[in-house]
């Protein structure tokens, strides 16, 4: 093992056991011990490796399931819409029902219908749980069908027949990889998953890697609280996502591409698979595409669950069949990715933007922005707004204007604070509402564009409780690999819950939170631990500046 590449520490070489475990669970509904022991013997893999996986991924059950599973979201967007009360109602309704397994879960990516829930595989508004439970008792319930049927302003293909034009040009040699990368660089496109890394540069770096084997992965593991834009992009524009993915493969020289999608997005995975079949029918996916001699093999990897898998190296670990624990970096996936090979990983929205830019030109793209920003941005708006949902707006639109687009604050109240970029972004107060939704401007304001999720909180919201709710999400979703995140989130939740339980407020938060925040930010392996206490610190700062102001 060369320096910089970590020990395997329980990660075994060889094919992933996750598909085998998924198959056992599909056959039995859960994972009986005898089956696991037989799997270990058959595959010559240690039992502890199996235990590590089945205890890490929420998809796996080690006890026979009850007939009906009801999951209610406990995270911020739902909490702001009365999630706790809904949970209590549902719990009271079914407390004596032995057939129902009721539990709270992390964000389901359905913040537009908050408080959200799932009955078996079907996502729903929590108010509809009772109806669905009735239904499911009489006949099986599938995960439903995706798609809003909306036509979005970004789609460059008026006519379905025109789709994949850029891919065809790239495969036909009319559009070179260099030209594609140059256009992306010129457009100023940055990653839409949260980190905002310049897309053209990422593509250029991976394309330049000498390895014969490379991979391209579309990260559709959208799981951050308040974030659900990728779900709608996949539902309505899978052809753009797929074209972006295939272009990435052509440009970097990858033979295999993957869509890594969270398991709660069953309908969206269906939509993507359907698009994949269409493209296969067009000869654009598979072996020897369009007779070029080139293979473009694409498949869907359904996540066995957990927010942390959105972290790109945790995602890779999961795909390799390991516990989804982020790697120490460097090396980064561009040089050392899936199975140690150079890997291009982009977010759903980023990939969907690429055919748009190639078709309409970098100049057109730049002209779509406002307030000096370039391009269009999909943003999920949730929390205390009248019309929660996904909006495609010019990058640079102000927070206030976006909230107005979403019908304004709920019940005509004033906006008290927002998280402009998902759960990990710092809270901004009323004074910041005119900040443009843009990478630089939000950073300057002390927050970030993040995952394209604006969570709105109106007056009367207990911001410390809101921030503690966010922290609890990070505590629950921490993989536990490193000390600061594993222990730090837990201690901080304990401290803040004690403050809240005793009726205390921000003034009662002592210095230990600041001490933990600094240690977690500076020493955690990945972004989760580094930012977990950021939102809490930001509400403390907001309160102090309000007090001072």
């Amino acid at each position: 093992v060369s320096a910089g590449v970590e020990a395997r520490a329980g990660r075994f070489a060889g094919p992933s056991l996750i598909p085998e475990l998924v198959a056992i669970q599909a056959a039995h509904g859960w994972l009986p011990r005898e089956e696991l022991e037989a799997l270990a013997i058959r595959t010559k893999r240690p039992l502890y490796e199996i235990q590590g996986l089945i205890s890490f991924y929420p998809h796996f059950a080690t006890e026979p399931p009850k007939p009906v599973k009801v999951a209610v979201c406990r995270d911020l967007s739902c909490w702001l819409r009365g999630g706790d009360a809904q949970m209590r109602t549902i719990a009271a309704r079914y407390q004596a029902d032995d057939d129902i397994d009721l539990h709270q879960v992390s964000c389901l990516g359905r913040c537009d219908i908050a408080p959200a829930a799932m009955v078996n595989a079907r996502a729903c508004a929590a108010v509809n749980v009772e109806g669905l439970v009735k239904r499911v008792r009489s006949k099986p319930l599938d995960h439903g069908v995706a798609g809003t049927g909306r036509r979005w302003p970004n789609d460059p293909y008026e006519d379905r027949a025109d789709r994949y034009a850029s891919l065809r040009a790239a495969l036909g040699g009319e559009l070179s990889g260099d030209a594609i990368v140059a256009t992306l660089e010129e457009s100023g496109l940055r990653g839409m998953g949260g980190a905002g890394f310049p897309t053209g540069r990422k593509w250029r770096l991976v394309a330049a890697e000498p390895s014969e084997t490379k991979y391209v992965i579309c990260n559709a593991d959208e799981s951050e609280v308040g974030t659900f834009k990728d779900r709608e992009i996949l539902a309505d524009q899978p052809h753009l996502v797929l074209e972006g993915l295939l272009l990435g493969m052509v440009v970097t020289g990858a033979r295999e591409g993957w869509l890594f999608i969270r398991h709660e997005y069953g309908p969206e995975a269906d939509a993507f698979r359907a698009e994949l079949e269409r493209a296969r029918g067009l000869g654009l996916v598979g072996t020897d595409v369009l007779g070029t001699g080139r293979d473009l093999l694409v498949d869907v990897f359904v996540s066995p669950g957990g927010y942390i898998l959105g972290e790109e190296t945790a995602l890779l670990e999961c795909m390799e069949g390991h516990r989804g624990e982020p790697r120490n970096k460097p090396p980064y996936p561009g040089t050392y990715g899936l199975w140690g090979k150079p890997t291009l990983m982009n977010n759903v929205e980023t990939l969907a933007d690429i055919p748009v830019i190639l078709r309409r030109g970098a100049a057109w793209w730049q002209a779509q922005g406002t307030n000096g920003c370039a391009g269009l941005k999909f943003i999920g708006v949730s929390g205390n707004v009248e019309k929660p949902g996904v909006y495609c707006v010019p990058l640079g639109t102000s927070i206030r204007d976006l909230i107005a687009t979403a019908g304004g604050p709920l019940d005509g109240k004033e906006t008290a604070a927002v998280q402009p970029g998902g759960a990990s972004s710092n809270f901004l107060g009323q004074a910041d509402l005119d900040t443009p939704l843009d990478f630089t401007a939000l950073t300057d304001a002390g927050s970030m564009l993040g995952s394209g999720a604006v969570i709105v909180m109106t007056e009367g919201t207990d911001l410390l409780a809101a921030a503690t709710n966010v922290l609890r999400f990070f505590r629950n979703e921490s993989c536990g690999k490193c000390v600061p995140c594993r222990a730090g989130t837990d201690k901080a939740v304990t401290i803040l819950e004690a403050v809240l339980a005793s009726g205390g407020g921000i003034a009662d938060v002592d210095g230990s939170i600041a001490e933990l925040e600094e240690a977690m930010r500076l020493t955690s392996i990945c972004g989760l631990g580094q930012v977990a206490l950021g939102p809490v610190m930001s509400v403390i700062k907001l309160a102090r500046s309000d007090g001072a102001g």
């Binding site: 970590e6 520490a9 329980g10 600061p484």
Partner: protein, 948 residues
């Protein structure tokens, strides 16, 4: 002048203001260490690859966040601050986070025993040792459970900091793959297998995780004395007393109590500080209250001689009685205590009388491979020069005699041609009939490690033992079909053109005959005999034949057959025709069982050979030893172990001296042994416990245990190491070498030595292989023989690079036709019985069954049966069965095991209450004279239900 070093890319960085230039890829931690800068670590240990999870080693390398120095490579121009105020502040916070959940310092399982808790050391450095007791300390998490299910290791999850050191120790050092992480986030903890209690998991109790754990999460349980800080104990550097791997270790001795508190692996080119359960936890047998402390003489009333206990009479019921071993209450009344002089005089008088009346060849001696080189040398010298006969043998006859016969015939040397760790240089390794995970656990860790690093591992065995789980190719052959299988492999090697023609022409003889014979073993035929897919034979041949370096390890599965010599001949030929001898990563390695079976053989504890394999019937050799020892010697090769037992029955042998051997349990067909021992006119047994064999003794002499004496021991690698005394002897027990001298004096052979070192020097003088070795140049971890320069060299690893020590310098290829085992299953006795050892036990159990930990882990005799066979017999897991052969029967508990072949069963031979050797066949290999322990026909039926 051009240098190669110039090609290594380097980077230059600044650490705490110091400029450091290191090879590209060096971690910041390593670079800092080079610069003399210490960075605190918890999860890191240089023996393991880094994981960077504790974050204690974070440094400011100029990025947005800090980097873990253990895993972050240096960049050119990097500026690193390892101990800025901020960096130190974060380390303090991390320490607080961990200490908040730890047990109180006064109750910490590590601090209160070995007192070397690494987290506590950091907590003291940052002034946060009392985090839990501090009013504004961080809140303590939900208490985590303790797991006391292991007999030797205490687990306290609340003391675990999830540093993953135990995981890497278990995986990367021992390759046992038991420990991992379970759960996620703040609820994650370490787990064994499917989150099972440690004691019920597949953990083999090697203790490597304890050695790795920096906190009180995994600590040793006390065995026979409280575990105390090192500074309060005496450290004795010695060698493990059990198997031929010969692991270097340190005993931490409680001198006040005359007990060993605990053992730790010691750095050596051999075991590299690794130990197995026996070495780490099996050291307390010497303190058993059953130790013999006074010489004993059989009472007049106890004649005529015969077995004294019900078990040895064959009336045992297979169920464990309290104490498990020889029932002293049953046996001791037949003896009376005597003074040393009385006992020794009686021995001298009886030996002289038998010699005078029946001739010297009516005497015989069994030495032991558990004894030192010095003891073995003196013992055979006593028998040869004092008794006047070559009837001297030891248990090597029962383990590798056939291997040695084939090796001496084929390549002129019975020793291994390379070390076990040389597997790291092999492209392909074949493990043939060796259950290494149980019998050579530490060597097996190197095999598994090599496989993980790219060596193709081929395992050929009728039992799917644990090491088979690591094999690239596993051939589960039918018992007793090795010759057919390897002939098939050689057939394919030849057919596929993979023979090293140049090597064959230059260094072998007999190739044509070999080729002619194996031509009849096409894979279809060989596969049919061996019960394996012909394609598997082709794969093995291809992998082996195409390998740049191939090595073969084998064990009793090869040697303990009536065709044992033929089995080994095949392996030798397979190596030779592919040129796999004499280079790193190639060769022949019969894994030695006993800690000193190599040395005892080297020292001449063999009936046809003087020390260093010099034949007694070679007049030149005879002259050499007559000169050295100053007495005339017999030119007649002596009888072997099995032949001596036979000769006792016919009264050709009448008097015997047994030093540390217990043939009653270890030899085949125990009923025959019982009659033979009863028939002896005189038997003196020298041992540390009353053994089954001692029931037939006229005189019993209390000996010293391994842990009480000094001596050299030669391991399977030919490594000669010094064992040192850790404990005082009990009662009147005496050192074995001195007892031998006393007996020698009484039979008219005067020998004088000042010390074991003195004996060693004499042995080296007559054993050219040991030339140059002396106690004062063996060093801390011993030296390999041959060794031209022990002062500066560890010795020669790879032998035969320039030919073989045969008359013509060539290897002799000896073709062998496949012959079936002596006693095949039939309608009446439909099962094949295989016998062998368990990981936790040693031979007749006289040591291990008196070791608290080993006996607790494996307390019962069991017959291992394939679950389907068991089901057909109506035998549930844990039921009792009667297993019977044509020679005897035992009652024994049934254990279901998916590792057995259908139609075969396995019984470990350690348990007197269900002695496997009541069943085994004493038919011997014609060359090695080794019995067929690995194959006899038995029938199995449910035991009648009676009150246990």
């Amino acid at each position: 002048m051009a240098t190669i070093v110039a090609d290594v890319k380097t980077v230059t960085l600044t650490i705490d203001g110091r400029r450091v230039t290191v090879p590209e890829g060096t971690t910041i931690l390593s670079a800092a260490t080079l610069a003399g800068i210490a960075i605190p670590v918890l999860c890191h240990d240089e023996r393991y690859d880094p994981v960077g999870v504790c974050r204690m080693c974070v440094v400011d390398a100029g990025s947005r966040v800090y980097a873990a120095a253990c895993v972050r490579p240096c960049d050119d121009g990097m500026e690193v601050a390892t101990a800025s105020d901020s960096v130190e502040r974060q380390r303090r916070t991390l320490t607080r986070l961990l200490m908040a959940d730890q047990p109180a310092p006064a109750e910490d399982p590590k601090q209160t025993t070995t007192a070397d808790n690494e987290l506590h050391a950091l907590a003291i450095r940052y002034g946060v040792l009392d985090e839990r007791a501090t009013p504004d300390g961080l809140p303590c998490g939900v208490p985590r459970p303790a797991d006391g299910s292991s007999h030797v290791i205490a687990v306290d999850h609340s003391a675990c900091i999830m540093c993953d050191r135990c995981i890497r120790a278990c995986d990367d050092i021992q390759n046992n793959d038991v420990i991992g992480r379970t759960g996620k986030g703040h609820t994650a903890q370490i787990a064994f297998d499917l989150d099972d209690p440690m004691g019920e998991s597949s953990c083999v109790s090697c203790g490597e995780c304890v050695a790795a754990c920096p906190t009180g999460a995994l600590v040793n349980k006390p065995i026979s004395a409280p575990i105390r800080p090192r500074t309060e104990l005496k450290q004795v550097d010695s060698v493990c007393p059990y198997c031929g791997v010969g692991c270097a270790l340190t005993f931490h001795v409680d001198e006040d109590r005359n007990k060993i508190a605990y053992a730790e692996g010691r750095e050596s080119p051999g075991n590299q500080a690794r130990l197995c359960v026996k070495g780490r936890y099996g050291f307390d047998y010497a303190q058993s209250p059953e130790r013999l402390t006074v010489p004993l003489i059989r009472r007049k009333e106890a004649y005529p001689k015969g077995p004294l206990s019900a078990d040895v009479r064959g009336e045992g019921r297979g169920r464990r009685k309290p104490g498990g071993l020889v029932d002293y209450a049953e046996v001791l009344p037949a003896f009376r205590e005597a003074s040393w002089d009385e006992a020794l005089d009686l021995v001298g008088q009886k030996v002289r009388a038998i010699k005078d009346t029946h001739g010297a060849d009516a005497l015989a001696g069994f030495g032991s491979a558990k004894c030192s080189n010095e003891e073995a040398y003196l013992f055979q010298k006593l028998v040869r020069a004092g008794f006047g006969t070559n009837n001297v043998d030891h248990c090597t006859r029962l383990c590798h005699a056939s291997s040695v016969a084939a090796l001496l015939e084929g390549i002129g040397s019975g020793a291994v041609s390379t070390t076990y760790a040389d597997i790291r240089n092999a492209d392909v390794a074949i493990l043939a009939g060796t259950n290494t995970t149980a019998n050579h656990p530490v060597a097996s860790s190197f095999f598994k490690e090599a496989r993980r690093k790219g060596t193709t591992l081929i395992v050929v065995d009728p039992r799917r033992e644990r090491v088979a789980d690591h094999a690239d190719i596993f051939c589960q052959i039918k018992p007793g079909t090795d010759v057919a299988f390897y002939n098939g492999v050689m057939h394919e090697v030849i057919r596929q053109g993979l023979v090293d023609q140049e090597y064959v022409a230059a260094t072998t003889t007999g190739y044509e005959e070999l080729a002619t014979l194996v031509a009849a073993y096409a894979p279809e035929r060989a596969g049919q005999i061996a019960g394996v897919d012909p394609e598997l034979i082709r794969r093995v041949a291809r992998a082996w034949g195409e390998a740049g370096a191939g090595i073969i390890f084998w064990g009793m599965g090869i040697s303990q057959h009536t065709t044992g010599t033929d089995n080994a001949r095949c392996l030798i030929a397979l190596c030779a025709i592919t040129g796999n001898v004499g280079r790193p990563g190639t060769g022949l390695h019969p894994l030695r069982g006993q800690n000193n079976v190599q040395g005892a053989s080297d020292a001449g504890l063999i009936p046809m050979m003087y020390p260093d394999y010099q034949r007694v019937d070679n007049p030149a050799h005879q002259a050499t030893f007559e000169t050295a020892w100053g007495v005339p010697l017999s030119p007649t090769p002596g009888l072997t172990v099995t032949e001596i037992i036979g000769a006792a029955l016919t009264k050709d042998v009448r008097g015997m001296y047994m030093l540390g051997e217990n043939p009653f349990l270890s030899d085949p067909n125990v009923n025959k042994v019982r009659k033979a021992l009863s028939a002896l006119d005189f038997l003196v047994v020298q041992d540390i416990f009353l053994t089954e064999t001692a029931e037939f003794a006229d005189v019993v002499l209390p000996a010293s245990s391994y842990l009480e004496k000094t001596g050299t021991f030669t391991n399977t690698d030919r490594r000669v190491q010094i064992g040192r005394p850790a404990l005082e002897m009990p009662g009147q027990a005496r050192l074995d070498w001195q007892i031998i001298l006393e007996i020698a004096r009484r039979v008219g052979l005067d020998m004088h030595y000042d010390s074991p070192a003195d004996v060693f020097d004499e042995m080296v003088a007559v054993a050219p292989s040991y030339a140059n070795l002396r106690y004062d140049n063996l060093g801390a971890s011993g030296k390999l023989w041959p060794n031209p320069d022990p002062e500066h060299s560890d010795g020669t690893v790879v032998l035969f690079g320039d030919g073989f020590p045969t008359a013509d310098g060539r290897a002799k290829l000896v073709p062998a036709e496949w012959l079936p085992a002596d006693e095949l299953p039939d309608q009446e006795y439909p099962f094949v019985l295989n016998t062998g050892r368990l990981l936790e036990h040693w031979h007749t159990g006289s040591m291990t069954r008196r070791s608290f930990a080993l006996d607790a882990i494996a307390p019962r005799a069991q017959v291992y049966l394939h679950p389907q066979d068991a089901a057909e017999l109506g035998l549930g897991d844990g039921d009792f069965a009667v297993v019977a052969s044509r020679r005897g029967q035992i009652e024994i508990e049934v254990r279901h095991s998916h590792r057995e072949t259908r139609g075969s069963c396995f019984i470990p031979f350690h348990f007197r209450e269900a002695a496997a050797n009541l069943l085994t066949n004493d038919k011997i290999d014609p060359f090695g004279k080794i019995p067929e322990f690995k194959f006899c026909a038995v029938k199995i039926a449910a035991a009648s239900v009676t009150a246990a």
